[in-house]
């Protein structure tokens, strides 16, 4: 209500570990993801970033934009690098360092999947944050395994042939659950309190933690730059990107409280501009099916 004073205006930690002056695109969701992750983890954190948007966001040498060390690695090396960092810090008595792999969806779902899976299987005490902007955005919006059904990208162009991505999104968080990673969650930038709370829960677990953070990309999803948080919210509300948390063998799904239709979600982004009713219905059906699968799993694992 207008004029009402909030007693606690700061719903997330005030301290910043990402500085201004970086070179992310206008309205970048991935930048918000990093800002929140570091607020949750604090100063004693080392971030390893493969080739991705985040490898250029800090700007060219000699600039850095994080107030924590950031290791740049080749595309497929995120899981391996956090393996080596964790081992070395433990050897050096720096067990209190948070080791974080922070990779895009291409670097996670595609080229980095083997390295990720290996690192998670070995059980290192590390965080792996996948900032999911649903394509190779840094290289100019190409299709990734994590691009959703129906999206146009520069390698799935819609011209005379409607060659939008016809395959379903590969959801790496689901793969990680199937692999038995002790902490798995999804989150998105519209709900920073939820993301920060999840990192807090994850931190209690000594072992691998995987969090997939949907990070809308105005540049690659073709929506106005002011809509990043709104699109992120709609992704959850429509069920397109369900939020969940999985630990202690139990899945907890956030039920969409105010459902938005898939039609509304895709209508807000020009990457879906070409979709016809039957395409949207197909997408809606798969979204409904996935939500049902997750809720079934929640029921199964709750012990009820």
């Amino acid at each position: 209500m207008s004029g009402e004073v909030h007693d606690m205006p700061f719903s997330i930690p005030r301290e910043e570990f990402m500085e201004p002056g970086h070179t992310a695109c206008h309205g970048c969701g991935a930048t918000l993801a990093m800002r929140y992750v570091l607020k949750a983890l604090g100063k004693n954190t080392v971030v390893s970033v493969p080739a991705s948007c985040w490898a250029v966001i800090p700007g060219a040498m000699p600039n850095r934009t994080l107030d924590v060390p950031m290791v740049y690695t080749p595309f497929a090396a995120t899981g391996a690098s956090i393996t080596g960092l964790r081992a070395a810090f433990d050897i050096l008595g720096k067990e209190d360092y948070n080791v974080v792999g922070f990779a895009g969806d291409g670097g996670t779902a595609d080229i980095g999947l083997q390295s990720l899976s290996g690192a998670m299987e070995r059980g290192h005490n590390v965080f792996y944050i996948m900032y999911d902007n649903e394509g190779y955005m840094n290289t100019g919006v190409q299709r990734s395994g994590s691009t959703p059904y129906g999206a146009e990208t520069t390698t799935t162009p819609v011209r005379a042939e409607k060659n939008f991505k016809h395959q379903q999104k590969k959801v790496v968080a689901d793969l990680m659950m199937a692999q038995g990673v002790p902490y798995v969650a999804t989150a998105t930038v519209a709900y920073p309190e939820d993301l920060i709370r999840k990192i807090g829960n994850a931190k209690k677990i000594v072992g691998p933690k995987f969090i997939q953070v949907l990070s809308p990309c105005p540049t690659g999803w073709y929506f106005p730059t002011e809509k990043t948080v709104e699109i992120s919210r709609m992704a959850v509300q429509s069920g397109m990107f369900p939020l969940y948390e999985y630990y202690d063998g139990k899945l907890r799904v956030t039920k969409p409280s105010r459902p938005v239709s898939i039609r509304e979600y895709v209508s807000a982004q020009d990457r879906f501009l070409h979709l016809e009713d039957e395409d949207i219905e197909r997408l809606q059906a798969t979204v409904d099916q996935r939500m049902k699968t997750l809720l079934d799993k929640e029921r199964e694992t709750s012990g009820a």
């Binding site: 207008s2 009402e4 201004p20 002056g21 930048t31 600039n63």
Partner: protein, 99 residues
């Protein structure tokens, strides 16, 4: 002296104001200090000010810290205006001298 590929200069050295086409302006007389604009700024370009000089809708709000946009870094994406629950941030075309 050999060089090591290390980046150690804060990006604060890099002003991004020239990226801005639309400029946000907060109407403090309507701003309730909810800090949602601060929370969602991807450029970390909204600072928190304790100044009591800033206008406010009422005396209770006047006691709270206020969001202040740092125009050296704001790129003008407009997320703050879009997310503002009071709709008290207005985006308007930047009037900048020719360069």
């Amino acid at each position: 002296m050999m060089r090591i590929p290390i980046a150690d200069v804060s990006s604060r050295a890099n002003h991004t104001d020239s990226w801005r086409i639309l400029r946000p302006d907060i109407d403090y007389s309507r701003c309730i200090r909810c800090m949602i604009c601060w929370k969602f700024c991807p450029d970390n370009a909204i600072n928190v000010s304790e100044s009591s000089e800033i206008k406010s809708p009422n005396e209770r709000v006047a006691r709270l810290e206020a969001p202040v946009i740092d125009m050296d870094y704001c790129k003008g994406c407009g997320i703050c205006a879009n997310e503002c629950p009071e709709k008290c941030i207005e985006m308007s075309y930047e009037s900048r001298g020719g360069n």
